[in-house]
Point group: C2
Chain length 660, copies 2
């Protein structure tokens, strides 16, 4: 008779296989290979309460190869989460909570959306940073309020991806000892043996990163797995990678063959595999003893959770200020006072919006202890460093500044992991053009509804001499294309303040702040208009003197060009309105009447933005009505470039005359 | 008195510093630190002829940290390339050939554009693949036509970037022994000491990748540098990383300090540094003996080049067929016969465009030996594998299939490197949604004018069950935003054939082929129309019966939905035209009369594409006239999704009725 562990592992294996069979779609090979790994973790190590899947101090678990979702759903079902057998039977169907890849927010017990390989791995690094930071900041003797592990399963595919490499190096540098990954070393990729593309010594690589590397030769040996996980937990100084030699499609006739990766086994092979395992052919079978075993685990978990709630209650009494601060970090509200932020620039006539961003961050960090962030090694340029606050490091765990290194993608994923953990409003800086490097992380934040903030400076050809590789052209519009992403391109320090207020308050999707390298006038003379208007995404910054014959719509630095052109046109007797449109997405959320009032349909409109024209037709109708840039930039001083690329008052004036 | 090497190194250092001073912009720290590395390489190892900077068999050199461009320009000037002192004096100015970061095609001797860190490193891997492949394919006893090294300088920033990690692992697996990188190990990043974010053991990591790792402790020791480079060359089985302990800002008062990275030293410190080095204060000073030394090198290089030309002439006689094939690979024309490709589908009523792409690739690979490629481990899904052709590996150097591994970004950069080398039309496959992972590589291909081909399958929510992480929404339009990129979304096998013909012929920018996972009807009944029309980027696929009252514009799979709607509308007496628009960029190249004939201004238009609506206003005027998707997808069978997301004949019919 099977031991409870054997039965449990087989339950997971075949629940996963049955889901794939039922859906006629999915990935059976991974669950068959890695069920023992997940079982061991959930059976002996993971701290969880299936009735409280969002409990702050639970251990986190990330299934980085998200295509193995059927295994995770099987585990969640068996462990007692609100994932029913019917849910498993609806695997990969419309409206189910068991989609093709795990989706955060949809399925109880899923701690992160995964699918794009490498990203899950890197998000775990962010979670472990958040855990260490919050623990060091809020734990007090006798009150280990934040004290949990971040576990994950990872795969060859993850470890080939650059984003995982970036995050692994960062994790080693930061000594994230409570980060533990089990590596499904099955030697097989979709195209065949890993020898073809991935002959490296993974263990050696991780040792070089500063990780503890452990090995388990036989994936079927629960004791060996448990011993390795214990050893991983014992090392508090280094993250751990447990390399387990597994076999894709274990126990099936397709074992160790790439063909069992991404397609159902089919009824015949499923039958054969179950028979060979001595398992009932009945689909979705869960032995009673396995249910009972995990019911007992769930009860244990509930007790732990209850004990933690008592600890928290005592902590609230003993350390009320800390408790309140932590609660606010976790739940908000995340309110910034726009007027106070605007006051920072009262005396200023000009400021680069990146510099304004830096000033605002200093003030915001005082109001919002949750603000934690850094830059992909461009802190001094992005102005993202919080002054008089230490850097997060092996030795200083309370630091809210993070050196992410030259690792945009890893940074983006880590920000998402921090947001997932809770207690952090994470932000990360780089040059706007390098948003392309972390675009997949912005997308994941958008999919998961995470409020990661991306501080993207040097936002146009105006950055100057660094030239076309550093000059965004298509980047701003490329970000606007992404659903559930708010893209702010503020015209000045005041609009930047509003953007920060909204980005910090926005916890259901990422915000991108596109900021200038160069100085821009501060619109202090329009202060009230700017603060109220920018909060609506778009507004009449400067009304026409007399009846408007056209509207100039601009964003960011080009708003000032629009104002200059307006003046010149007025002098010639041509009245035009200037609309600043710092955030399309917020403007679109306004009611139709407001939008029509700002941009009346009947007036001709000219859009001015130092970037791609495509997309602006949405507001101005025709590409003839856009002053933009549809080629790559060049290396020269910023002012020279703006002139050479046609961004002059004269050019705007001429364009307006043409369209009226 | 300085030795020639000392004088040469100082010449490079101060030519670089003087450029930065003159421009009042740039990066002096890197050149001061790494001048001896570049000097040693060019003095003793690099095979080059400054008068023939495009000579096929020259050694390649990549300055991966492109911000050190001033050093490269100094070197090119001293070595005798067509880079004058005046060019150096115009560093970072409008119209100069000495831009902020090196630009391929602009400056003689610049083998690759660099700037975005990591990318240069990864392109070198592609160059080394091309060299090994071409050498193995075309060299014959006594005729080592292709036999050169790929050298590069690399930095902390590069080695933190995931793209370099991906490429390094691939290079180790492939055993690219003629790839040699010198690592500027200066322990400093923009944010300070590398200890903050990059504490890893780089040597250990590269050993794990399968590289030979060598170390030089003193960057000022030319003999030690030379010995290491010799050792690197001696190992033919492994790529080499030579770790040189350097000092950023060497010899200046800011040595070893991050502050000398990205801003000019200023006149005072420049003076101090020159004086300390015993160097004349005169800007742009080049000692005569250094000029003479490199003039002799240039003469040597010219001799080598002439000898190679003689070898080539003899090879042409001895191996005419091989020579002709290689010549065609290098120079083209790269002609595919569209009719013959279309014939492949004569008998077919339906085919997924990814499957059609696979069939076309088989035929194209026979006509164009330059076609070399693979997939980021999705070959069986992307249908990118060339049948009966081996994989490129350590043992099989003639293979034209490449296992890139799950490394989209590294693959993209490697494709660019292969294109830069010449002799290859490189292609790489992944899912369309993961185009985001390699977007920076597409951008670099566009900037450099390289004809890399990106085969992007699973092009909409129609891919089905894999769900939102795998379903592109904003991706197609995001690619269309990029200047100098051709984006094809063919409606069927025939349009796919045209797209391949154009992508292979196009050698001045990358092409992206967006292909369906699901079967699509083959438009054989419209064959002549399709083949002629697709070549113009957009065309009337199906004319209205009677006077058209509207136009439905569609791409890819949605073209068939448009055709079905047209039929239904005609049955109701509403005549509409269907326009297929597989490639916006090619359509835009047509003359105004053609465009107006296809899309007459006065007719209302509806765009139908299963992707973001933003951007379609360019052709249809208003977002009301677009049937698209402005949210992320979901996990369910593809057919179900199309219905749930409103892509039904009935919906198209209703929309048309609304707009007429």
């Amino acid at each position: 008779m099977d031991s409870i562990a054997q039965a449990g592992v087989k339950t997971l294996r075949f629940l996963a296989v049955d889901q794939v069979e039922q859906a006629k779609s999915g990935h059976p090979g991974f669950p068959l290979g890695t069920a023992p790994l997940l079982y061991c973790l959930w059976d002996r190590f993971l701290t969880y309460d299936p009735a409280a899947p969002s409990w702050l101090n639970r251990d986190r678990f990330i299934l980085s190869p998200g295509h193995g979702s059927a295994l995770l759903y099987a585990m969640l079902h068996v462990a007692g989460y609100a994932v029913s057998l019917d849910d498993l039977k609806n695997f990969r169907q419309w409206g189910s909570i068991t989609p093709g890849h795990p989706e955060y927010g949809l399925t109880p017990g899923v701690d992160a959306s995964t699918g794009p390989l490498g990203h899950g791995f890197a998000m775990g690094v962010g979670m472990a940073i958040a855990e260490a930071l919050l623990g060091a900041t809020y734990n007090r003797p006798g009150y280990d309020i934040i004290d949990h592990y971040t576990f994950g399963l990872t795969s060859d595919g993850d470890l080939m991806e650059g984003v995982a490499s970036e995050a692994a190096s960062l994790a080693g540098t930061l000594g994230l000892g409570k980060l533990i990954y089990i590596y499904d070393d099955n030697k097989i990729t979709i195209e065949g043996s890993t020898a073809g593309a991935f002959a490296e010594d993974v263990g050696g690589r991780f040792t070089a990163y500063g990780w503890q590397v452990l090995r388990v030769g036989d994936s079927e040996d629960q004791e060996a797995l448990a011993a390795a996980i214990k050893e991983a937990q014992a090392d508090k100084e280094r993250p751990s990678l447990i390399i387990v030699r597994t076999h894709i499609g274990y126990g099936s006739p397709k074992m160790d063959d790439a063909s069992c990766h991404g397609e159902p086994l089919g009824p015949a092979l499923t039958k054969e595999t179950k028979e060979k395992a001595g398992w009932p052919l009945e689909p979705f079978y869960v032995p009673e003893k396995v249910r009972e075993h995990f019911a007992a685990k769930a009860a244990e978990g509930a007790k732990k959770q209850a004990a933690w709630q008592r600890l928290w209650a005592a902590y609230e009494k003993e350390h009320p200020a800390l408790a309140e601060e932590l609660r606010q970090r976790l739940e908000g509200p995340y309110e910034l006072d726009t007027e106070a932020l605007a006051d920072l620039f009262k005396e200023k006539t000009k400021a680069a919006t990146r510099a304004a961003s830096g000033d605002i961050l200093q003030a915001a960090a005082k109001q919002l202890p949750a603000l934690v962030g850094g830059s992909a090694d461009l802190g001094p340029s992005n102005k993202t460093v919080l002054k008089n606050i230490p850097y997060f490091s092996k030795k200083e765990r309370t630091g809210r500044n993070i050196h992410f290194g030259v690792r945009e993608h890893g940074m983006g994923a880590a920000l998402n992991g921090m947001a997932l953990h809770g207690g952090c409003i994470p932000y990360g800086g780089t040059f706007l053009v390098f948003a392309d490097f972390l675009r997949p992380a912005i997308r994941m934040a958008a999919l998961m509804g995470l409020g990661s903030i991306f501080v993207l400076t040097h936002d146009s050809i105006s950055l100057g001499e660094d030239g076309p590789t550093h000059q965004p052209i298509e980047t701003a519009m490329g970000l606007r294309l992404m659903p559930n992403v708010k893209v702010y391109r503020p015209a000045d320090a005041l609009e930047t303040a509003v953007a920060y207020k909204m980005a910090c308050a926005e916890r259901k999707g990422p915000s991108c702040l596109l900021l200038s390298r160069q100085d821009l006038p501060v619109l202090n003379e329009h202060r009230a208009t700017v603060l109220a208007g920018a909060a609506k995404g778009g507004y009449v910054l400067s009304e026409a003197e007399g009846e408007a014959r056209a509207i100039i719509i601009a964003t960011g630095s080009e708003v000032h060009l629009a104002l200059a052109a307006q003046k010149e046109l007025q002098a010639e007797g041509i009245a035009v309105r200037v609309v600043s449109l710092p955030c399309w997405e917020v403007f679109e959320e306004q009611d139709a009447a407001y939008k029509e009032a700002v941009l009346p349909s009947e007036l001709p409109k000219l859009a001015v933005e130092a970037g791609a024209t495509l997309g602006w037709e949405r507001y101005v109708g025709s590409r003839e009505n856009v002053l933009g840039i549809d080629r790559y930039g060049a290396s020269a001083p910023g002012g020279v470039l703006m002139e050479k690329f046609g961004f002059t008052t004269a050019a705007v004036v001429a364009k307006v005359k043409k369209i009226i």
